[in-house]
Symmetry: C2
């Protein structure tokens, strides 16, 4: 052939999985989807490509630099870089046709042309839920979000985790009361390093910001509040801060943690953490982070919070909302690297039907009987030896093999082998599906 071959490859920063890992990925994806749906969130699927004018109505700075943006015909286009902007556009565009509060999930790929580095992807799944209210949105939803997080991560079974929550009104009110409202982001960036650099270094950094000694002491006292959730609430009240926002925030925090218990969240799985702020310009009330206790270095695996106005770039209607997001591609990659999850099967097949030189008609009817029983079924058609066929089933981790030889055809049976136990029994075709399900249940 004269034509040169093209080397088959993908771009760096894009995740593509082998079947065994894709099966594992999909299991996680499906579990998240199932929990999201169990709380009544509605599916949404927005276009990957949008008009740049619409998608970048808000963006700027770092985000804009990362965008995949291009023209086609007369159109200035961009690939979505998150699922929040498309949600805002969707809600603004269809507000007349939606019922509020509008609860939606979207679990789709987004695109950021970052310089690729370990654990960073240019194409990655975000698994988002948001609840959007019309003008108002009950505080109970602030507890529903962590209830969803709790159910997702309990089901995913990645080990013990902690949902950390805070309230931006508490933070903002506190710093306002110190007259430090213009330095909040600098202060919080230093507080964030507490675990890493220790208290003394944080104090030093705060001094460098020109903050007075007594205010630094107040800040340190504030972030050192500890105890049970109700003790923290009491300690916040005991600060006697005369700021309406602060008081409101403390009330919200109290109510949310109470509701969280009513939602069935085990108290060991959440804590008020006064150092959490999340995106500074965006969130206005309750904020969340989630850490896997044994793998804190992974950072937050699920974050979010409440915001005042989702659609301000598109409409004048005030639509407050609350949402959380799981960056699934990154999480999957981290969990795999850390050995927390690993592929178990290279196949979805429950039963492989293996013909040994017999008429295909009987073989296909056997396969149909197994499949009709609700089991994933495949047939090994190729004319190979028994040993090779068993090796194939073993390699893929297929749990059952139904061997069909002359004897089986004559007796209207199959020889069913349980690959885990090695046990082999003869079953009638009418009963093979039930027999497999029985053995699977054991």
């Amino acid at each position: 052939m004269a034509k040169d071959k093209v080397k088959p490859r993908i771009l760096t920063g894009f995740m593509e999985l082998l079947p065994e890992d894709q099966i594992l990925f999909n299991k996680i994806y499906d579990t998240i989807r199932e929990v999201y749906e169990s709380f009544g969130f509605l599916p949404l699927d927005t276009p990957v490509i949008e008009l740049s004018e619409v998608l970048l109505a808000k963006a700027g700075g770092e985000t804009e630099k990362q965008i995949y943006r291009f023209t086609k015909g007369d159109n200035d286009l961009a690939l979505r870089f998150d699922l929040t902007v498309p949600l805002a556009r969707y809600v603004a565009q269809h507000s007349g046709q939606l019922t509020f509060p509008f609860k939606r999930y979207q679990m789709s790929k987004v695109y950021r042309g970052e310089r690729p580095q370990k654990g960073r992807f240019r194409e990655f799944y975000q698994c988002d839920i948001d609840i959007i209210g019309n003008e108002e949105l009950d505080i109970a939803y602030d507890a529903e979000m962590p209830a969803v997080i709790y159910n997702v991560f309990r089901k995913l079974n990645f080990g013990k985790f902690t949902i950390r929550l805070n309230n931006r009104k508490v933070l903002n009110g506190f710093f306002e009361s110190l007259g430090l409202e213009n330095q909040i982001s600098d202060i919080l960036r230093n507080i964030d390093k507490l675990d890493k650099i220790g208290r003394d270094n944080v104090i030093e950094e705060l001094e460098k910001l020109g903050i007075e000694k007594d205010k630094i002491n107040s800040i340190i006292d504030f972030i050192s509040i500890s105890g049970t959730e109700s003790e923290k609430i009491s300690a916040l009240r005991a600060l006697n801060i005369d700021n309406e926002k602060f008081t409101e925030g403390v009330c919200e925090l109290e109510k949310v943690t109470e509701y969280m218990k009513d939602f069935g969240i085990d108290e060991d799985y959440f804590t008020i953490d006064l150092t959490i702020a999340r995106g500074l310009d965006y969130y206005t009330g309750t904020v969340y982070e989630t850490v896997l206790d044994d793998y804190r270095s992974l950072g937050s695996v699920c974050s979010g919070g409440r915001y005042d106005n989702l659609t301000e770039y598109y409409t004048n209607t005030k639509l407050p909302g609350i949402g959380i997001s799981i960056g699934l591609t990154r999480l999957f990659s981290q969990l795999k690297d850390a050995g927390i999850i690993k592929a178990e099967r290279s196949s979805l097949v429950d039963c492989l039907v293996v013909p040994m030189g017999v008429d295909m008609s009987y073989v296909l009817k056997t396969a149909k009987a197994v499949r009709d029983a609700g089991l994933v079924t495949d047939v090994y058609y190729a004319n190979k030896g028994m040993k090779q066929k068993m090796k194939y089933a073993n390699k893929l981790g297929i749990p059952f093999v139904a061997v069909i030889g002359e004897d089986e055809v004559n007796a209207n049976t199959a020889s069913l082998k349980n690959m885990a136990t090695g046990e082999q029994i003869t079953v009638s075709i009418d009963n093979i599906g039930n027999e497999i399900k029985k053995q699977m249940g054991e």
Copy 2:
């Protein structure tokens, strides 16, 4: 606010659905996925963005013009325009790590910057399955493909359909025997119009191509072959065509239709159609089309066939395959327009818990009990009147409402209303999940 608002909108040619339609779409998507998996197809998820050099190794002409292609940094990039090229690239790239025959499904969006017109989309879902063999691939797979189609469309329940199949060896062998191998595509294009323009006009068109009268008669005899599938096979054999390819093709056709019956495909649902060719340069054996009997004008809703070599642009290894594709976005849009499918629910919620001025703690525990029973559950938190809350449930098509007032809290019960029958009963919280499931089953 000084800043002008951006008009929220999406590009033409992109499908975006309201929740009720998205629920319907997902139901169809999930059904297709479930059937694909039941035959042991493995999930695959390739990047939307690939290197142009890789993605366009084969492409040219019309396809290339439709591509979304752009640069980012030093990279010449393109959005995938189908799922077959990414599959070829994937198999060539990972052939050493895959087990053959490799059965994969991919149900993802692809991109074509066509001039948008009714029923044509620039972003659309393709739902593909392919089976790739290493050097060889058993003929039984040619019958498995229509078995999958049969199971998908029986489950989807869009009404009676017919899988039309043919074999390219039969076609090519036949036209070779007439010495017309160089005019096959012109001839087939005219034959394709048989239904529309009638036999006489087809003959006239074939004459215009300069084909001799006796050959035209042979062609007409060939495409007029009718009867049962075995009668058609006999009639093909009776043509006594001395061409090896033709003979092989007829044998394959015979075997495939026999196997199809063994796969449990009702004979009313398939037919040999000697006028079907599909993509002329691509397919080399069995080819398929699927039409909905009552909506033939929709064209083929699922097509595919066998090809000799998937990866020729990337490797020298010969990897024959067979595959089918459902263009789900277009199909969904057509079925909806034709009134064949329609949205049934605006919500996934099975039971809405409605508090009437009571403590939230009890309400949330009730919701948890319903959710823990495996039912999709939501709570109406907003402080509205009973009438408005019922109206909300009605509007969304939620089948059950659990009302919680003071009496219910005191008695540890809920008032469960079946919205379809209007019946209302008092149930204990421990039993509410089972009660709903019981009523749902009725």
